[in-house]
């Protein structure tokens, strides 16, 4: 069955890249440009995996992850954060907020797909 991935990133370039990469690998992709819009997108959806950026306007990645984890309907959805290698502190904060795993930017397409597959139930 086709799995759905929600990607949350304020950069259009990054959103396009995620969409192209994941769609090429057979995922259905829904997208949002910040944390609040991400929560909005989750109202009618329960994706198999969420991929989110950290630095975003309105609601950042930490706030978004915490909000998803507080929602009992969505608490079990794996969330991957997009970080850069130098963001060790961010990675730990994201984990504390409830992130399942992380993808280091810039990501290699095979790596992204592999990580998404790895955490998807």
């Amino acid at each position: 069955m086709t799995q759905t991935v929600l990607t949350v990133d304020d950069s259009r370039t990054m959103r396009d890249m995620l969409r192209v990469t994941l769609e090429d690998s057979g995922y259905r992709v829904i997208q949002a440009a910040d944390g609040l819009l991400g929560l909005e997108a989750l109202k009618g959806e329960k994706p198999d995996v969420i991929v989110t950026d950290i630095n975003m306007p309105n609601m950042d990645g930490f706030g978004f992850i915490e909000a998803v984890r507080r929602d009992s309907r969505l608490a079990g959805v794996p969330i991957l954060v997009l970080t850069t290698e130098s963001d060790a502190a961010l990675k730990n904060r994201a984990r504390a907020a409830g992130a399942t795993g992380w993808i280091t930017k810039p990501f290699e397409q095979t790596r992204l797909v592999d990580v998404v597959r790895r955490v998807a139930a």
């Binding site: 259009r12 984890r69 608490a75």
Partner: protein
Amino acid sequence: MSNDVLAQLRQTFFEECDEQLAELETGLLQMQDGATDSETVNAVFRAVHSVKGGAGAFKLTTLVSFAHVFETALDEIRSDRLEAGPALMKAMLRASDVLADLVSAARNGDDVDEALWRGLADEIAGFCGKEKAPSPAAPVSASDPAPAAFAPQPMAFTPQPMAFTPQPMAFTPQPMAAPPAFTPQPMALPSLAPAPAAEDAKAGGALRILFRPRVELYEKANDAVVLLRELERLGAMTVTCDLSEAPLLDALDPHGAYLGFDIHIVTDRDEQAAREVFEFCEEDCDLVTRRGAAPAAESAAPAAHAAAAPDPAAILNALRPAPKDAPADPSAAAPAADPPAADKTAAKPADPARAAEEAAAQRAAATAAPATIRVDLDRVDRLINLVGELVINQAMLAQAVQGADGARDPAVSGGLDELDQLTREIQESVMAIRAQPLKPLFQRMSRIVREVADATGKKVRLVTEGEWTEVDKTVVERLADPLTHMIRNAIDHGLESPADRLAAGKPEEGVVRLSAAHRSGRVVIQISDDGAGVNRDKVRAIAIGKGLVAADAQLTESEIDNLIFLPGFSTTEKISAISGRGVGMDVVKRSIHALSGRIFLKSKRGHGSEFTLSLPLTLAVLDGMVVTVDGQTLVAPLSAIVETMSLDAGRLRAFGASNAVIADRDGFVPIIDTAAELGFRPHRRVVGGDKGVALLVESEGGGRSALVVDAIQDQRQVVIKSLETNYGRVPGVAAATILGDGRVALILDVDALVARARGAASEPLLAAAG
């Protein structure tokens, strides 16, 4: 990913860069003006961060390196570890300029001289308490990104394996002995049926993994069953589940973690491969991995291989802990139906939180920027063209009906009126699609101001007004050069040095004001400075020195001011490095004219100068005067016409054999026989006393001429049709339009016509076409 897709992504990236750079500059300017709120600083940080992120994806190393230094400093400011003082802000603004340069170099694939950014990067790194910016980027590979090389704390990205080394004994106290309530559940995969030990030997080895998830693992939506699935990819796997910690159902917390797993994988992969599976959760579980142990020797395992082999899927299902949902799991079934108290209390605070989120989301939706779509410009232009056809068609229809009896039918005339109204509205709406705010253009000017201020040592503040005024995209684009030049001039020539300003009793900092507004269907842009104003004696002396005006010419103040627009007034050596490009105000004037615009200068000695540009909102329609010339209908752009006058015999003077001049308020103006210039008539006719009208036009260089036409028919908006694309370039004709009766009318290129006539050309312009 195909090259097409990559190219598309690249284009998106550069488009986004432009937006981010604009954001960046806006934010930095706000910070410079004292905005310290986190929203502003965060937006600035995100802008640089996004540029860096995308640049990394496209392996644009220089861009990544510079953005990283910039981003690091912004992060320091964001975290209150660094104060955004004036010196730092100045460096930041220069950094945003350099970043823009690097982006455009990357876009064009140009090589960048390291000198362009290295010094500034070091300077900014210096603000962050570092001597030097890190050394140039090693080539970025996607898996090992350059940013890492620039991490402020190099030790931050050492690999993490040390986190779990001390763990082994955490697991040993739990030998796989099960409590009496549960029979041990040894499980083996059917594929292992031939003696596993033998298989091990064949495959070259095995991995033994002891894995006990903690609650945190499940809380982060990692899942033991998913991890086991991944492990199974390494080779044939045997799993023994340790239920010894599992309480009886009534004591079982559905969110708890009770299971341990003893995993045996036949594989020649090393421990690292297994560790990688646990990459995201090794801190949330007890984990021991061992390589190559023969399973038979392991105390806990032997039973596993001896036992009957259930279906692997069944094993995985049996193992599925699914702490949050999945009532099928026996361990979760009972509590799921009636959540324990702990769950209820947890749910309570969650509800208001959720309500707050929803409210916030609604607020965001309400205040969110209006939804936009991106449309190919070609499509818009096609639509504009079609609407132009519609306007023409509507006019033709109206004209046809007027001639017929139908005009007397109120239903017909009413319908026509409505059609007219609708067509006009459609036209305006379509034009609005191409309209863009001047803001990006104005933002570019703030960079120019900084650069010129730095180069001249003057202190300048740019004040912008009306940057949301919208103008046709093409007009916006073609305004960039003239505007840049005028801003440079305003600072370089207009503003005095700080010392002179103080001496004149003015504040040290000069003000350049850039404003835009819509005024009666046109957009008016003003560039003013509070500098010394035009030095008329000097201007006059230069003009006389260059032979542009006679030494004894009687000139009004305004005429002297406008001498600066004359071709040949400014010279490259005078414009120097700052005003650059060797462009004079005559070129500015010509570019404005090319946009059907006009430019004026007002100046007051000691108080400054003000340039006023008046431009059409769009290049698709034109306000024109419809005239008759030798039986032909032509359109003269209204923007070029200063006034119209009758050809009174008393005002005409012959001038040479075939020329004449007409008296205007200030003197005599050469007469141009339009029909003859266009080749409708073989010879110039000396006008005098006969019927006809003179259109007094102001052309390039500020000179006035009188275009003689037979009659003025009308003044109206016409839809511009390019003659070049539909027919070919014709000197003296700017474009064409289609009139209500369906006939094509040529739109005059007044400048070319005047230049032609003045250049004593003998060949009529339209000789071939006439």
